[in-house]
């Protein structure tokens, strides 16, 4: 069965420091990959997506993610974190068109001023 893992339940970084959130998926072929962010009490906002092509994708709010087929990974990065980035981050996959989204358990990010 398809699954998404996010090894880090909670990460704390200082404002201005770099950030990397890890994501691994389990599926035979390459799925369509997404990162969402959720602020407390809010819905999900799409940060970026990977469908095909260049394995380094740029998203909103200065985030980027790199797809590595050999590692079945899609890690999210940001060179300099802002206090407003504190939120819950979800990695997700879609296997086929119009299919359900399979979410990872999420990584909670705290930012120290």
């Amino acid at each position: 069965a398809q699954s998404v893992t996010q090894p880090d339940i909670h990460i704390t970084v200082s404002e201005g420091a770099s950030l990397e959130l890890r994501c691994n998926y389990s599926y035979g072929a390459t799925p369509y990959l997404f990162w969402y962010v959720q602020s407390p009490g809010q819905g999900l906002q799409l940060l970026l997506k990977y469908f095909s092509g260049d394995t380094l994708v740029q998203g909103i709010k200065g985030f980027e993610a790199e797809f590595k087929r050999s590692q079945s990974s899609f890690n999210l990065r940001k060179p300099s974190v802002h206090w407003s980035d504190a939120a819950e981050y979800f990695c997700a996959v879609v296997v086929t068109s119009y299919d359900k989204v399979i979410f990872g358990p999420g990584t909670s990010l705290s930012v120290i001023p």
């Binding site: 819905g43 906002q45 799409l46 119009y98 299919d99 359900k100 989204v101 979410f103 999420g106």
Partner: protein
């Protein structure tokens, strides 16, 4: 262009009651999916509606049912509420491989 809208925003119900949540998809989207997000967890797929029929279903009991109307809006119904049904319920409208999420309905069962 309005995005995905959901109503109500918050809801408090008692165990055993029934609840109906509503969703209007993004303009032009004909497919609606529902997800349950328990506190501290990732969203879990409940079901998906297309052309007024349930097309896919996740691992949820029959107490969870839905409906899609000709204008593509959708309802999620939950019968015989349990304390464990307390969660954020998210609606998403789909365009090909991308899903657009609404703000959610926070359901509290007491």
């Amino acid at each position: 262009d309005a995005g995905v809208t959901q109503s109500p925003t918050h809801l408090i119900k008692t165990r055993g009651q029934q609840v109906t949540l509503r969703c209007s998809p993004k303009s032009g989207h004909d497919t609606v999916s529902w997800y349950q997000q328990a506190l501290g967890q990732g969203p879990q797929f409940i079901f998906q509606y297309y052309e007024e029929e349930e097309r896919q279903r996740g691992n949820f009991p029959d107490r969870f049912s839905g409906h899609q109307f000709p204008n593509y809006s959708s309802e999620l119904n939950v019968n015989a509420l349990l304390l464990g049904d307390s969660a954020l319920y998210l609606c998403a409208s789909t365009s090909a491989y991308e899903q657009y999420f609404g703000p959610g309905t926070r359901l509290t069962v007491t």
